[in-house]
């Protein structure tokens, strides 16, 4: 797929940045306003999905190869588990919010508040963004294969080759 027209490409290359920033905002302020790691992560993923729709798979593959996205996915999940385990090591219990209870109480409504909660949001955002991008990317692979297959099937049915 070579992508869409120049207008679409130009607009989406601008909008993509905005969507990406919005995703980051949603993740960072997840403990204060509606949103959070998951919603923000989906928005991050959708910025890349937009790019994929406008420019085609190949250019996105150059931008964010699948192997790196897969690593990011693992990294996000691992970081979240690490926060839990740090709770066990530092705070004495799995998933203890050790930052808030011991080191960093923070003011209500401040960006730095809630201890490990913003960190967890970041990890989840990273994980969700990478993994959803991965799955849409992997699904988009099958477009042409299946078209030819449908033709094959049709020709099997009618008994005469098509094309």
């Amino acid at each position: 797929m070579k992508g869409m027209t120049v207008i679409v490409k130009t607009v989406s290359s601008w909008v993509k940045v905005l969507i990406f920033l919005f995703g980051i905002y949603i993740i960072l302020f997840g403990h204060l306003s509606p949103g959070g790691g998951f919603a923000g992560g989906v928005i991050l993923a959708s910025s890349y999905v937009l790019l994929m729709l406008a420019f085609g798979r190949e250019s996105v593959e150059k931008n964010l190869p699948m192997s790196i996205a897969s690593r990011l996915d693992c990294l996000g999940a691992f970081l979240f588990a690490l926060i839990a385990i740090l709770g066990l090591v530092v705070g004495g219990s799995f998933f203890v919010n050790f930052l808030y209870q011991k080191y960093l109480p923070g003011e209500p409504f401040a960006l730095v508040s809630g201890g490990t909660i913003p960190l967890s949001n970041l990890a989840i955002g990273l994980k969700v963004g990478a993994s959803l991008f991965l799955v849409v990317f992997a699904l988009s692979k099958f477009r042409y294969d299946s078209k030819s297959l449908a033709n094959k099937r049709l020709s099997e049915r009618t008994g005469e080759p098509k094309e």
Binding site: S70, D73, C74, S93, F94, F95, V96
Partner: protein, 504 residues
């Protein structure tokens, strides 16, 4: 030293998160790490066996946070999961060389184990649902791992029915929350005890029975199992038949009925009916099968029927207020059969995998005479078949005997008769397996067949040894008191159990 309970979930999770990130050159490291994780889980499960404690995740006091509970029942299941899991993982080290994407396979395997551990350790129904979904989704993907026509079809069927079951469970949880305002099992038990059952809770309970019954493949809900279990790679079939249907289906259902909702006569009869239906239908359908793994899958339905029957018998006896000793005997039989079945059925699936890998077919008509070519596989298969068919010194005999005694003592002679009849069916089907796979004429195309190697043999032999010594669990009173009786006591204690644990 007491092991912190989240470790049972955290170890497989962390290893699973790391594995896909390892590069191509690190394949052996990935296999090693996965095996190490399983073995350490087994060691930890043995170490913490017999403890009874509650772990408050995040340090939050009970109704606020999620709690994990280890008691006799969950440690029994935990032991079964880790033991079978370790053997299956060892087996896959070599068996899975015939597929691509091995690190992803190992990841999914570990995630499935983590999900099952989470389910059996959970003391909170929503948390139970979440871990149920981890284990189920991993198993859907693993059933389709082969990526061929049959695998995909079976995987889709399994996934649709499994998702419907999960949605039922979630709906039931929502109803329970709406009626009791709590998600913690002990709090729900207390609330139900205080107010009694109402229509909403009864409906939630029936949703749970349908949902977990689907996961356990009890007979009206069994349609997916004979497709899904044979389609998966052999070690996964062993996990699915051996422990997954028990951890996700029977364990969860039993836990909810006994320790949360409380036993009642109608529920007990529903369980008995489901059990007998599964036993009879599964047994009869299995005899007609010619596909080795498909026969084993149908036999799983039948054997799970025994477990549910034992538990249902216990429910009815408890609810009637009859002698606790009889109820205890019935439940003991059911649980012992559960453990037995997880060992010998996984062993049978592993041997079927070894045969399939060596010969390239599962059709029993094309097999035969493998006894000389694959002596070790044959011997292990023999042990497992004898056990599942109820040949006297083997553990399968004792668990069925206990069930029969319990049924007779309770006065349900027809149930005892059904158990004996299905046992005869089972004997016939495993004679058929022995006859057509290992005895008879060796066909021409199988002259080159070689015995399985290395880790596959180790896995099969260790499970077979375990299978032989399982009889001791019930024959030696000290062992029985240490291993099986705590689990039975948990169920006998009923709704007071979870409350008592919380108050500790």
């Amino acid at each position: 030293m007491s092991v912190p309970l989240p470790v049972f979930v955290a170890i497989p999770l962390v290893v699973a998160f790391v594995l896909p990130a390892l590069g191509k050159g690190l394949r052996p490291v990935a296999t090693f790490l996965a095996n190490l994780a399983m073995i350490s889980l087994l060691v930890l499960a043995v170490m913490s066996f017999g403890d009874a404690r509650v772990y408050q995740v995040g340090g939050w006091s009970i109704p606020l946070g999620i709690n994990m509970v280890l008691d006799g029942f969950s440690s029994l299941l935990l032991l079964a999961i880790t033991a079978v899991g370790t053997a299956a993982m060892l087996f896959s080290t070599r068996y899975m060389e015939q597929y691509t994407a091995k690190p992803k396979y190992l990841t999914l395997f570990l995630l499935m184990v983590a999900g099952m551990n989470g389910v059996v350790l959970s003391g909170d129904i929503f948390n139970l649902y979440v871990f149920l979904e981890i284990a189920s989704i991993a198993s859907y993907a693993l059933v389709g791992f082969g990526g061929e026509h049959e695998e995909l079809e079976a995987s889709f069927k399994y996934m649709v029915l499994g998702s419907i079951a999960s949605t039922f469970v979630l709906f039931g949880i929502a109803l329970v929350y709406g009626n009791t305002g709590s998600l913690n099992m002990a709090y729900i038990a207390r609330a139900i005890e205080a107010t009694g059952m109402n229509a909403g809770l009864a409906f939630a309970l029936s949703l749970f029975i349908a949902g977990f019954g689907l996961k356990a493949a009890l007979v009206p809900f069994h349609a997916w199992l004979p497709d899904a279990h044979p389609s998966a790679p052999a070690p996964i079939s062993a996990m699915l038949s051996g422990v997954l249907i028990k951890a996700l289906g029977i364990y969860a259902l039993t836990r909810l009925i006994f320790n949360v909702f409380g036993v009642s006569i109608p529920v007990g009869w529903v369980l008995i009916a489901l059990g007998i239906l599964s036993m009879v239908a599964g047994g009869l359908l299995a005899i007609g099968q010619w596909d080795f793994k498909r026969l084993l899958a149908y036999s799983s339905i039948s054997q799970v029927g025994y477990v549910v029957l034992g538990i249902g018998l216990g429910t009815v006896l408890l609810a009637k207020g009859a002698s606790v000793a009889w109820a205890s005997l019935a439940i003991l039989g059911g649980l012992f059969h559960l453990v037995n079945h997880s060992v010998y059925k996984s062993l049978l699936f592993l041997t079927s995998g070894a045969v399939e890998m060596a010969t390239g077919t599962r059709q029993m008509r094309d097999l035969g005479g493998l006894a000389d070519r694959m002596p070790v596989t044959r011997a292990t298969c023999m042990v497992a078949s004898a056990s599942i068919a109820g040949v006297p010194p083997f553990p399968g005999f004792w668990s069925k005997l206990i069930l029969v005694i319990a049924a007779v003592q309770a006065g349900f002679y027809w149930i005892a008769a059904a158990i004996v009849c299905v046992a005869v069916c089972t004997l016939i089907m495993y004679l058929k397996v022995q006859r057509y796979v290992f005895l008879g004429e060796l066909p021409e195309h199988l002259r080159q067949v070689r015995e399985a190697k290395g880790s596959m043999l180790v896995a099969m032999v260790s499970l077979a040894v375990l299978c032989v010594f399982m009889s001791l669990l019930v024959l030696v009173p000290a062992l029985r008191a240490a291993v099986l009786q705590p689990a039975v006591d948990v169920l006998l204690e009923g709704v007071n159990h979870s409350t008592r644990l919380i108050d500790l």
